[in-house]
């Protein structure tokens, strides 16, 4: 939920290519708009038949289809023009839970303001939006018509068709040739304005499709509630695991040690050799208890992380790793301990994944802090194919980072390389002044 594809604008660098692409995209948008009109009609139909009862069953499906359409436009806005349109729905598709069907579905659809704003968008889009989206293609086609006028004016006028091209009355070869430069002007205009118009279209759509400040707040509350309960769950599970480890490990060994010492005390006078053997056993037991406690502490909060901070902790991690790890760290201070810990365990998990699943041999880690964001890029040379929605490890990292409003972006094409970017908003505290 907190992950997103790194936004990229995709316009060819050449003016002509960009213009043609804009015209094509405008046509595609007009196609979507046509689908919108279809949905609108279907909705009107369903509302009319509410009286008969069937309508009520149709409305939720149609409203969800409207959402899918609106979502597609939101996504295209980001992919085509870099205009960022947030998703305003209080519930997302797949998020419906037990309320996913029947009356309750209708209920939460109708009480979500975003539904009504979607419908408003659908209504206006078929007029204003459609016109804006169609302008680039229309200009190009109209321009082309002007350019080929010398070849086609005769058949058209002979057939009794209209013989006006803009303000030129085409009645002779001369006037037909005059429309050529005018056509060129239209084509150029279409090419020039296409990109701008498509962006304008999405800017317009954003007015109604993006969340209102109020909806944004509601979404924020929802996100916080969810991440908080996830955090509490994770913490509880963690504490439970620690309790169990202590109980079965160190605690049990200490009990055994006490018993062994007691036995040694009893036989001390009669059988010194047996007492010695028991004492050695007790000593070994205490060493094992210490080793278990050490491992436990490492899992809770690695000592190097506490001592030295993120960069050295990851350096220490690298020394224990079979992979070749290249670390570049540009941090002038230390983030707060919980953020630092989340970042550390995220990197640790990624290293384990890279070795285990991607069979990577080299890892490049880049850490820097810029404009209030701790950014960590982890790139490996493994065979890729990682999927955040399937790997429970990655979604665990996402949850961990999500608790601090951090995000994770993943690019892992089959064959590799896998690139993971993590961003955590945080401030760095100035480094501790050392007396040495």
């Amino acid at each position: 939920m907190s992950s997103k594809v790194i936004a990229q604008q995709s316009w060819p660098s050449s003016r002509i290519g960009g213009g043609l692409l804009a015209a094509g995209r405008g046509l595609a948008l007009a196609g979507l708009m046509l689908a919108g009109v279809g949905l609108w009609v279907a909705l009107a139909f369903a509302v009319t038949f509410v009286v008969l009862g069937i309508g009520l069953f149709l409305i939720p499906g149609i409203l969800l289809a409207v959402r899918r359409l609106a979502d597609r436009v939101r996504r295209l806005a980001g992919e085509w023009t870099g205009v960022d349109v947030g998703i305003p729905y209080l519930r997302r598709p797949g998020d419906e839970g037990p309320d996913g069907s029947g009356w309750r579905r209708l209920g939460w659809l109708l009480t979500d303001r975003a539904t009504w704003r979607d419908l408003l968008w659908l209504t206006v889009d078929s007029t204003i939006g459609g016109v804006i989206a169609l302008i680039p293609a229309s200009l190009l086609l109209w321009g082309l018509f002007g350019i080929v006028m010398p070849a086609v004016w005769k058949p058209i006028t002979d057939a009794g068709g209209s013989n006006w091209y803009a303000m030129i009355h085409v009645t002779s070869p001369l006037t037909a040739w005059l429309s050529v430069p005018l056509g060129v002007v239209f084509v150029l205009l279409g090419l020039w304005t296409g990109r701008w118009l498509i962006t304008a279209y999405f800017r317009w759509a954003r007015l109604l499709l993006a969340p209102t400040p109020k909806a944004e707040l509601a979404l924020r509350v929802r996100h916080l509630t969810k991440s908080r309960s996830e955090l509490v769950d994770t913490r509880a599970a963690e504490v439970h695991r620690i309790e169990r480890d202590l109980h079965d490990g160190a605690q049990a060994r200490l009990v055994a040690m006490g018993m062994t010492l007691g036995a040694a005390e009893r036989v001390l006078d009669d059988n010194p050799a047996a007492a010695r053997a028991l004492l050695i056993e007790a000593r070994n037991s205490s060493a094992r208890a210490l080793a278990e406690l050490r491992d436990l502490v490492r899992g809770i909060h690695p000592p190097v992380l506490a001592d030295r901070g993120l960069a050295d902790a990851i350096r220490a991690l690298a020394m224990d790793s079979p992979m070749k790890i290249h670390l570049v760290a540009d941090l002038t201070g230390r983030p707060e301990a919980p953020v630092e810990s989340a970042a550390y365990f995220a990197v640790s998990e990624l290293l384990a994944n890279a070795a285990k699943h991607a069979h990577a041999r080299g890892i490049w880690i880049d850490m820097r802090h810029e404009r209030g964001l701790l950014r960590i890029d982890v790139t490996d040379d493994g065979h890729g194919g990682a999927d955040a929605s399937r790997g429970s490890g990655l979604s665990g990292i996402e949850r961990r980072l999500g608790a601090f409003d951090g995000i994770l972006a993943l690019s892992s094409p089959p064959g590799g390389p896998t690139v993971v970017r993590m961003e955590l908003p945080c401030e760095l505290s100035s480094p501790k002044t050392s007396s040495y």
Partner: protein, 214 residues
């Protein structure tokens, strides 16, 4: 042999003092924080300093940093660092200046007082004492390096002991074989790993650690 001890937990400090005194060491100073340690080694010039990694006032790696600083101010000062956990990063920092006379051991090693005192003496004499756990983790790394795989199990065992800082004599005693057999093993190991053979214990350790850590 004069020792400066830096350990903040009273029970442990007291235990170490008693243990070392029982073995005939003289306690030159016993302190419980980093700055005091630095002052003590500069004033008392001990034969060896025994330092806990985690010390006040920062309760981080204060002891390690104080020890490193002490070695800069008193060049060649033998330092044995004790810790609840061992980190390769810290082991390397201690070994970094290449002058030896350093040790890095888990606190558990104190349990075996003979071995612990042996390590103290080795470090005081300019040798090295690395915790077996550091060595084990270095070997566990499974480097794509094939050379390690060419070692026989016995040679691997000897390599671990060399890396910990033991002399051929000590290794022979430990494995209950003759010193000549160990000398043969070490020269085979050094050939297989392409290391320069050396008589100097400290240089042997550095060579092995450099090999394992690359």
């Amino acid at each position: 042999m004069r020792v400066v001890i830096a350990e903040d937990l009273f029970l442990l400090r007291d235990g170490l003092i008693r243990l070392l005194e029982a073995y005939g060491f003289e306690i030159a100073a016993a302190v419980d924080n980093g700055p005091d340690l630095l002052r003590a080694v500069i004033e008392r010039r001990p034969d060896v300093a025994l330092v806990d990694v985690r010390l006040p006032p920062s309760f981080t790696d204060e002891g390690l940093r104080a020890a490193l600083q002490a070695r800069r101010e008193v060049p060649g000062l033998p330092v044995l660092v004790l810790s609840q956990y061992v980190e390769q990063l810290y082991a390397r920092e201690l070994l970094a200046d290449g002058s030896g006379a350093v040790g890095y051991l888990l606190k558990d090693r104190v349990f075996d007082s003979d071995q612990f005192v042996d390590a103290m003496k080795r470090v005081a004499a300019g040798g090295t004492a690395m915790d077996p756990e550091v060595i084990a983790r270095l070997l566990e790394r499974n480097t794509p390096d094939r050379a390690l795989a060419r070692l026989s199990p016995r040679e691997r065992q000897v390599l671990e002991l060399v890396a910990e800082g033991r002399s051929n004599t000590a290794i022979a005693q430990h494995l209950v074989v003759t010193e000549r057999a160990i000398a043969k093993h070490t020269s085979t190991i050094f050939t297989k790993l392409d290391l320069q053979p050396s008589d100097d214990d400290n240089r042997r350790v550095l060579a092995v650690l450099a090999y394992l850590g690359r």
